[in-house]
């Protein structure tokens, strides 16, 4: 059985993914701010390094899978956190354990979002993240933005997820040539503890992003629907899948972008 590390597995999609991996007999290490096997703050460079060091210490023989799932929504009210955790927290951890994944021919799965195809991201922020990667400068830039404006938070959220998806595509070829596959999952709106308690207007907004497989049901995706795909992508059953941004949104992307085949 394999050894898998996963970030953000104390709740939601991450918790369900961890549960499925454990059911299949794997060892799973949860890296999270609270309730993790390794408790660190992945929004900080120090926290990321601590997690990477700990994984090397625990499993110097290598990892079978690294699932980078930790992230916050655009409505979290903390713009720097969206940038630091969603983008830099993911890329740093994935790169930091690349050597461990190479040792076992492992794979990496990154959680993005189906909102990347809906045009709400900021291309300038995406380019700064992917092409410059200077966390301090990007944080300085976003700190001046209005964090009380939900659309600002949302556009930054989408930008980080778009940048992550592009980063996955950029590194997928060379990583695979070194025996490590990397893919991304782009979930639709998922039922979580947060969505269960949200306001009526927020629920209406969520329902305006229809999920074809839930047609007429007024409900969101189940975390298990996403987790099943993450487990598949991280398994050897997906050995031919690399550099893929897999939409797990019940068909929302197909609905809104039927002509986008590739």
């Amino acid at each position: 059985m394999g050894v898998y590390a996963i970030t953000g597995a104390s709740s939601g999609i991450g918790a369900k993914t961890k549960e499925l991996l454990l059911e299949r007999g794997h060892e799973v290490i949860n890296i999270d701010l609270k309730g993790g096997d390794i408790c660190v703050n992945l929004a900080s460079p120090e926290g990321r390094q601590e997690a990477i060091d700990k994984l090397h210490e625990l499993h110097p023989e290598g990892l079978d899978g690294m699932i980078c799932n930790a992230g916050v929504s655009g409505a979290c009210g903390n713009l720097p956190l969206i940038i630091s955790l969603n983008y830099f927290g993911t890329v740093a951890v994935a790169k930091g354990v690349y050597d461990l994944l190479k040792k076992k021919g492992g794979s990496c799965v990154v959680t993005v979002s189906n909102t990347i195809s809906q045009g709400a991201g900021r291309k300038d922020i995406v380019d700064l993240l992917n092409n410059i990667g200077d966390e301090k400068r990007v944080l300085s830039l976003v700190s001046a933005m209005d964090e009380t404006n939900l659309s600002v938070g949302n556009s930054l959220y989408v930008s980080t997820k778009y940048a992550l998806a592009r980063w996955v595509r950029r590194v997928a070829s060379s990583w695979a040539a070194n025996g490590v596959r990397i893919n991304a999952v782009a979930p639709g709106n998922v039922h979580t503890a947060m969505t269960a308690t949200m306001s009526t207007s927020a629920k209406m907004a969520l329902n305006a992003l229809p999920i074809p497989t839930k047609y007429g049901q007024e409900c969101l995706m189940d975390p298990e629907e996403i987790a099943e795909v993450m487990v598949f992508l991280s398994s050897s059953a997906a050995r031919g899948v690399n550099g893929n941004i897999m939409f797990v949104d019940g068909g929302t992307d197909a609905l809104l972008n039927s002509e986008k085949v590739y």
Partner: protein, 110 residues
């Protein structure tokens, strides 16, 4: 009311459910105006898809029409607003089935 008039009415009222009911099960809307607004063309296949698609567009204020005028039995002109970008458009009901449901409707820049 003719199908084109019903279409205009539903669009003006942002009635996505009523709009979908104007179409046959495999009815299609193709909107080519989006190219001018730097968006992907809208190609929507099936009445349920039409329901969900316009629920999304109306819900997020990404699509509306104004100043509509039915110009003949099958066509209407209006200003289409794509998230703030206005385009003079002409909608054409190209086919209707034996039950009077629209099977094919296109929207093009005028």
């Amino acid at each position: 009311m003719r199908p084109i008039e019903k279409y205009v009415e539903k669009m003006e009222n942002k009635d996505f459910a009523g709009l979908a009911e104007l179409f046959s099960a495999d009815g299609v809307i193709c909107d080519y105006c989006t190219n001018s607004a730097s968006q992907r063309e809208y190609h929507i296949y099936g009445k349920e898809a039409i329901n969900m698609f316009f629920r999304n567009k109306f819900g997020f204020r990404q699509y509306s029409i104004a100043e509509a005028e039915v110009v003949n039995d099958t066509q209407a002109e209006f200003i289409a607003n794509f998230g703030g970008y206005n385009i003079m458009a002409i909608a054409t009901v190209r086919n209707v089935d034996e039950d009077g449901l629209i099977t094919n409707l296109t929207v093009r820049p005028k």
